[in-house]
C-alpha cells in the first residue's frame, strides 16, 4: 500500500503557497507601486533637447564683446561602433591614435555600464572638422556630431570680467534642480551674475524610441514639442576698446585697473591682471587645471577680491574727515622735517618744504601732515575718549564704502577689512591705546584693507564732489532695467563743500608746475586731470604702486584707479597706467609726447617682483 500518499497534499499546499507569493508580488509590482509606470514613460519617450543660443554680452556702445560661435561635440554610441579606419578618423580631428585606443579601451571596460548610451567622444571640434567628418560619416557608424555654442571674444579681453561657462556637474545639479546634465552655466564674472538673463530657455522634441535609442516616431506629431528661446543679450557698462587697452597696459603686471563713469557709477573698465586668456576661457574644461595651478592665480578677480592697504591715497579721506570735523581748514599748516616724531615713534617722510597747507600736503603727499590731522580727529575734545573718536572716524570712512561690500553686481566682491575698537582692545589691551598707537591709519597703512573697487569708488566720489552711485556692470536699457540699488545716490558723511579743496590738491598733484608735485607724470596735454599717488607698504616685497585719478576736473567723465602690486612708487607705474587709460578714453588716442611713456608701460614686466607661492 502507498504509505506516502498524504505527501501529495503537502506538496500541493506548498505549490499553492509559492503561487500565492508570486501573485502577491505581481499585485505589488503592477498595482501598488507606481514608480514603474513613470520609469516606463521615461524609457520610451526620448526628449531631444534643443539648446538655446546663450545671450551675448554687449559693451556700452552696442559692440559685441562676448559672442557665440558654433562648435560641434562628437558623440559616440559604443554599442553601434563597428571597426573603422582609425587613421583617417584621427586625421579629420587631428587626434593621436592612442587617444582613440584609450577611449575604446575604457568603453570596453565599462561596456555593461554604458549599454546603449551615447557619450561625448570629443568636445568642441571646429565646423571645418565637423564638415569633413559629415562627408565621411558613413565610414564611422556609431559616431555623430551635435552642435553646441561656445563663447568667443571679439575684443580678445575681459577674461575675469566676463567669467567662464562650463558644463554643470553633479553637485551643482543637486543645488539647482532646474539644470540638467549637459547644460552650461556661467561660473564666474558676468556670466554668473547675469546667468538668468543669458541662459535662455531650453526646448525639446519628443520622440518614441526603443532600447537601442533608435528613434521610432515623433510623439503625437510634435504636439508637445517646445522650441528653444534664445538667451537675452546683456548690455554692459564696459567700453570694449577701453577694456582691451587697459588689459594691454596691465600685461605682465600683477594688480587691477578699474575705471568708472562718476556720473552714473557705470564701470567702464575692469582689469584684473594677470587674467585668463580668452582662448582658454572659451574652452575652460581643457585648461581648467592649468589655470587653477597658475601661481599668479588668473581666476582671482583682484579688482573686487583682493583687499590691500590703500596707502597715501587714503590721506584724501582723512583730509575730508578733518575738514568736516572742523579740526583743520584748508589753510591749516603743519610742520614736517622728514617725518612725524613723537617720543620713540617716527613716521618718516620725504624731503619737501615745511610747513605745508592742505593743498600742498596732497600735492606733495606729506605723511606728517596727516598724522597731525588723524590725531586731531581722534583726540578731539568733543569726544570723551580716543575710542569714541575712532568710532566716529570709522563711521566716516564706512560712508565712503570702505570696509563694506559696495553691493556691485560682480560675483565674489569682498568687503575688505576695517579695524574695530574691539580689535585694538585685543591688540593693545582694553582702553590702553591712543591715537598714536594706530597712527598708521593716517596714511592708509596698518589694519585697513580695501579692494581696488573701493578706491575706484573713492575716485568717483571725489569726482562727484561727495556722492557716488554703486559701481555696476549692467547697463540700464529699456529691455533689461538695472536694479534700483544702482539708481540710488549715496552721500558720504562729509559735506559736499569740503570736496572742492581736496580736488584742488589733487589737481595740483598732477598739474602744479612749481616743483614738489608727486604725479606730474600723469599730466595729459589739454586736459586737467586730478589725482593722488599712493605707495603702499606691504609685507610681501616692494611697495605697491597706487594711483587714483579723474578727469576732466570739471564735469568728470572718468575716474580710475590703478593698483600695481610691488610696482614701487605710485608715480612709477600706477600713475602712468591710469593716466594713459584716461587719455585714451577722453581723447581716443595717446598724444605724441606721451608715446614713449605708453611704450614703457606696454613693455614693463613686473612679474618677477611678485613673490609667488610655489606649489
Amino acid at each position: 500500500m502507498d504509505v506516502y500518499k498524504n505527501r501529495r497534499s503537502v506538496v500541493a499546499i506548498a505549490i499553492v503557497i509559492v503561487f500565492a507569493v508570486i501573485a502577491f508580488r505581481l499585485f505589488q509590482v503592477q498595482i501598488l507601486d507606481k514608480e514603474y509606470i513613470v520609469t516606463a514613460e521615461n524609457n520610451a519617450l526620448k526628449y531631444e533637447t534643443l539648446y538655446p543660443a546663450r545671450g551675448r554680452i554687449l559693451d556700452r556702445n552696442g559692440n559685441v564683446i562676448v559672442d557665440n560661435k558654433i562648435t560641434y561635440d562628437i558623440m559616440v554610441t559604443p554599442y553601434d561602433v563597428q571597426p573603422f579606419d582609425t587613421l583617417s578618423f584621427c586625421r579629420i580631428f587631428d587626434l593621436d591614435t592612442s587617444f582613440v585606443n584609450d577611449k575604446f579601451r575604457e568603453y570596453r571596460l565599462y561596456r555593461r555600464k554604458i549599454g546603449y548610451q551615447t557619450l561625448v567622444f570629443k568636445r568642441q571640434v571646429t565646423s571645418e572638422q565637423y564638415n569633413m567628418f559629415i562627408e565621411k560619416s558613413f565610414l564611422f557608424p556609431g559616431f555623430t556630431g551635435v552642435p553646441r555654442t561656445s563663447r568667443t571674444y571679439p575684443y580678445r579681453g575681459g577674461g575675469n570680467l566676463f567669467g567662464y561657462i562650463s558644463e554643470v556637474d553633479a553637485a551643482f545639479i543637486k543645488d539647482h534642480p532646474e539644470y540638467r546634465s549637459g547644460d552650461y552655466v556661467g561660473k564666474t564674472g558676468m556670466e554668473e551674475a547675469y546667468e538668468p538673463l543669458l541662459r535662455g530657455e531650453k526646448g525639446y522634441n519628443i520622440y518614441l524610441r526603443d532600447a537601442h535609442n533608435r528613434i521610432k516616431e515623433h510623439y503625437r506629431d510634435g504636439e508637445y514639442d517646445k522650441t528653444a528661446v534664445a538667451g537675452t543679450d546683456v548690455t554692459t557698462t564696459i567700453d570694449g576698446p577701453l577694456q582691451a587697452y587697459g588689459e594691454q597696459l596691465m600685461r605682465n603686471k600683477v594688480g587691477s585697473l578699474v575705471a568708472i563713469e562718476p556720473s552714473t557709477g557705470e564701470i567702464l573698465t575692469m582689469v584684473s591682471s594677470p587674467g585668463i586668456d580668452v582662448d582658454q576661457l572659451a574652452d575652460i574644461s581643457k585648461y581648467y587645471k592649468d589655470i587653477v595651478n597658475d601661481p599668479y592665480k588668473p581666476m582671482f578677480n583682484r579688482a573686487v577680491m583682493s583687499p590691500q592697504p590703500p596707502g597715501s591715497v587714503f590721506k584724501l579721506v582723512n583730509g575730508l574727515i578733518g575738514l568736516q570735523e572742523g579740526v583743520i581748514t584748508p589753510a591749516s599748516q603743519f610742520p614736517c622735517h622728514r617725518g612725524y616724531v613723537v617720543g620713540n615713534l617716527r613716521v618718516g617722510c620725504h624731503g619737501h618744504p615745511s610747513p605745508l597747507n592742505l593743498y600742498q600736503s596732497i600735492m606733495m603727499s606729506c605723511n606728517a601732515y596727516y598724522c597731525y590731522v588723524f590725531r586731531a580727529i581722534l583726540d578731539n575734545p568733543k569726544y570723551d575718549s580716543v575710542q569714541k573718536g575712532f568710532e566716529r572716524w570709522k563711521e566716516y570712512t564706512e560712508s565712503f564704502g570702505f570696509g563694506t561690500k559696495l553691493g556691485t553686481d560682480i560675483p565674489g566682491e569682498k568687503a575688505g577689512t576695517m579695524p574695530t575698537v574691539e580689535r585694538y582692545d585685543k591688540l593693545h589691551g582694553k582702553g590702553r591705546w591712543k591715537s598714536i598707537s594706530i597712527i598708521s591709519l593716517s596714511i592708509g597703512q596698518g589694519e585697513i584693507g580695501c579692494t581696488p573697487m573701493h578706491l575706484a569708488n573713492l575716485a568717483a566720489t571725489i569726482a562727484n564732489r561727495g556722492w557716488f552711485y554703486t559701481p555696476h556692470l549692467q547697463k540700464d536699457t529699456p529691455g533689461s532695467p538695472i536694479d534700483d540699488r544702482f539708481k540710488e545716490k549715496h552721500y558720504t558723511l562729509v559735506d559736499t563743500t569740503h570736496f572742492v579743496d581736496i580736488v584742488q590738491g589733487m589737481e595740483m598733484a598732477i598739474n602744479h608746475t612749481g616743483g614738489g608735485a608727486t604725479a606730474t607724470i600723469a599730466r595729459i596735454p589739454g586736459i586737467i586731470a586730478c589725482g593722488k599717488t599712493g605707495t603702499a607698504q606691504n609685507p610681501h616685497g616692494d611697495d605697491h604702486s597706487v594711483f587714483i585719478t579723474f578727469a576732466p576736473k570739471d564735469d568728470p567723465k572718468i575716474a580710475v584707479v590703478a593698483y600695481v602690486e610691488n610696482g614701487g612708487f605710485g608715480a612709477t607705474w600706477a600713475a602712468p597706467i591710469a593716466s594713459l587709460l584716461v587719455e585714451k578714453y577722453l581723447k581716443g588716442d595717446i598724444s605724441p609726447e606721451r608715446k614713449g611713456l605708453e611704450q614703457r608701460v606696454l613693455d614693463g614686466n613686473l612679474l618677477h617682483k611678485v613673490k609667488i607661492k610655489k606649489r
Binding site: 506516502y4 505549490i15 508570486i22 503592477q30 498595482i31 507601486d33 516606463a40 524609457n43 555593461r112 524610441r209
Partner: protein, 474 residues
C-alpha cells in the same frame, strides 16, 4: 492493447495547453513584430514560431495515436543513455549562444538537448521508482536515483546552462512523494536561507539565527519547550553583546578575533560538549541536532568561499543585485530592472495587445524567450499575469491529482515528473522576471518562443496524456 477512447483523453489539460500555446504566440508576435505589420517571412520570429507550433501539434498527434505506450518504459535506459551522451557531446561540438554551448545546429533549426533530456530522465526515474522492490531506505536504490539525477545535471553545468540544471532539483519533490526523507528538502531550503542571511547580514547574524533555531528545536525534542526556549533566548541575548565587547576594548584579549569567530567558538564548543554527552546517553535526537548545528556553522563559514571562489562573476553579480547588496540598474540589474518596469507599467488591465512600449521597443532583452512574461505583464496587466498564473497552477495541480489516480506506479510517477518539470520552469522563470530570484535563463513552458522548449514540453506532456488515456483509474 487497449482501445483508444477519445473520451478518456484529458481535454482540460489539452485545453490549457492549447490556450497557453496560442497566447504565447500572440505575445511572441507582439514583441517581435515590426512597425510595418505582419510579414510572412521565415526571418520573422512569429512566423518561425508558427512552424514550431505546427510541428509540435504533429508530434502530439503522433504520440497520442501512433506510438505505442509500452515503448517508453521499454527504452528507459537506452533513451537516457543517448540523451546524456548528447548532452556531453553538445558541450564540445555545439553552437555557442549567449555564452552557453548547448545547441545543435541542423540547418536553420537549432535543438537544445538539455530540454529533451528531461523527458528521458523523467521516464527513467518513473521506471526505476515504480519497481516493486524499490525503497529509498535501500542505499543502492537511493544511490542509483542520485546518479540518474546527477549525470544530466553535471553535463548541463558543463554547457553552462545553470538554469536547466536547477530544474532537475525539482525531481527531488517526486522523490519525496515516493518516500525520500523530507529532511533532505528541509536541509536544502535551510541551506539557502543561511546562505542568504550570511550574504545580506553577516555570518554573525546567521550564527545567532542558527543557534536560536537549533536551541528551540532541542527544547521541544527534550520536552521542555518553555525552559529550553527561555534558556536559548537568554543565551542569544548574551551572544548579541559580543560585537560591542570586541569593539569596546580594541587592545584587549577579546579583540583578537572578530565577533563571528567568538560566537562560533562559544556556540560550537557548547554544541560539541552537548553532542558528546547526548551520544553517551544515547539521546539520538539531541545528538543529531547538535551535529546539525556544527554542520550549519561549517556551511555559514563556507558561504564566503563558495560565493567568492565557486560562483562565477556574473552569477555573483546577479545574486548581489537580487539581494539588494548592490544596485546596478544599467549593468547586471538591467534585465531585472527593465523587466520590472515593463510588468509594473502594465497596471491592472495592461496597455492592450501590441500596445506595450517597453517590450515592443526592445527595452527588455530576450523578451520573446526567457522574458516573455514581461510582454504579458505590460500588455495584459495584472489580469493577464494572474490568468496565466492560474492556468499553470490548474495544469500542475490537475496533473498531480490525475497522477495520483493512476493504478500503474510508472504512470503515476511519470505524471508527477511532468508536473514538477512544469512547476520548476514556471516558478523559476516568473520569479526571475519579477525580481524574486536571480536571473536564471530558462523558458516559460508553452509560452516562450523556442522550438526545443515547445517540442520538449509537448512530448513530455502528451506522453503522459497517452499513458493517462489508457489508464485504469480508480
Amino acid at each position: 492493447m487497449p482501445e483508444l477512447n477519445l473520451k478518456k483523453l484529458d481535454w482540460v489539460v489539452i485545453g490549457l495547453y492549447l490556450g497557453l500555446v496560442i497566447f504565447g504566440w500572440m505575445n511572441v508576435f507582439s514583441s517581435s513584430v515590426a512597425e510595418d505589420g505582419f510579414v510572412f517571412n521565415f526571418s520573422q520570429k512569429y512566423v518561425m514560431d508558427l512552424i514550431w507550433i505546427g510541428s509540435a501539434m504533429a508530434l502530439a498527434v503522433l504520440i497520442l495515436f501512433v506510438i505505442p505506450s509500452q515503448v517508453y518504459q521499454a527504452i528507459d535506459w537506452p533513451f537516457y543513455g543517448i540523451m546524456v551522451f548528447l548532452l556531453v557531446a553538445v558541450a564540445f561540438v555545439g553552437v555557442e549562444v549567449n555564452g552557453s554551448k548547448s545547441w545543435f545546429a541542423l540547418g536553420p533549426f537549432r535543438l537544445q538537448p538539455a530540454e529533451f533530456s528531461k523527458i528521458a530522465t523523467a521516464i527513467l526515474l518513473a521506471s526505476l521508482m515504480s519497481k516493486y522492490e524499490f525503497k529509498f531506505s535501500n542505499p543502492r536504490d537511493a544511490a542509483r536515483i542520485a546518479m540518474v539525477l546527477a549525470l544530466p545535471m553535471l553535463a548541463i553545468l558543463l554547457e553552462k546552462e545553470t538554469g536547466s540544471a536547477l530544474v532537475y532539483l525539482g525531481f527531488l519533490i517526486v522523490c519525496y512523494r515516493e518516500g525520500m526523507t523530507g529532511w533532505l528538502l528541509i536541509v536544502g531550503l535551510l541551506s539557502i536561507l543561511f546562505f542568504i542571511l550570511t550574504l545580506v547580514f553577516s555570518s554573525f547574524v546567521a550564527i545567532l539565527v542558527l543557534a536560536a533555531m537549533i536551541g528551540i528545536a532541542a527544547a521541544f525534542y527534550q520536552h521542555r519547550p518553555v525552559t529550553g526556549s527561555v534558556a536559548t533566548a537568554a543565551a542569544i541575548t548574551l551572544l548579541a553583546f559580543i560585537p560591542r565587547l570586541v569593539e569596546a576594548r580594541p587592545d584587549s584579549f577579546l579583540s583578537r578575533f572578530p565577533a563571528d569567530i567568538w560566537a562560533a567558538l562559544l556556540t560550537g564548543a557548547t554544541a560539541l560538549v552537548l553532542a558528546v554527552i547526548s551520544w553517551l546517553h544515547r539521546n539520538r535526537s539531541l545528538r543529531n541536532l547538535m551535529l546539525g548545528f556544527l554542520l550549519g556553522l561549517a556551511l555559514i563559514f563556507s558561504v564566503e568561499f563558495v560565493f567568492e571562489k565557486v560562483l562565477k562573476e556574473h552569477q555573483r553579480a546577479r545574486i548581489e543585485v537580487l539581494l539588494g547588496i548592490k544596485e546596478d540598474p544599467m549593468g547586471v540589474g538591467y534585465n531585472v530592472h527593465q523587466s520590472l518596469v515593463a510588468i509594473g507599467s502594465g497596471g491592472l488591465a495592461g496597455k492592450g495587445f501590441l500596445g506595450g512600449t517597453q517590450t515592443r521597443f526592445d527595452f527588455v532583452p530576450e523578451q520573446s524567450t526567457d522574458f516573455i512574461f514581461c510582454t504579458i505583464g505590460e500588455e495584459w496587466g495584472l489580469i493577464g499575469t494572474l490568468t496565466v498564473l492560474i492556468a499553470y497552477l490548474t495544469l500542475i495541480l490537475r496533473l498531480i491529482s490525475s497522477a495520483e489516480k493512476q493504478k500503474d506506479n510508472f504512470v503515476r510517477i511519470y505524471g508527477w515528473c511532468v508536473a514538477v518539470c512544469l512547476l520548476m520552469h514556471v516558478v523559476i522563470n516568473i520569479c526571475m522576471t519579477i525580481g524574486l530570484m536571480p536571473v536564471i535563463g530558462i523558458p516559460l513552458p508553452m509560452l516562450s518562443y523556442g522550438g526545443s522548449s515547445l517540442w520538449a514540453f509537448t512530448i513530455l506532456l502528451f506522453i503522459y496524456l497517452r499513458l493517462d488515456m489508457e489508464k485504469n483509474s480508480y
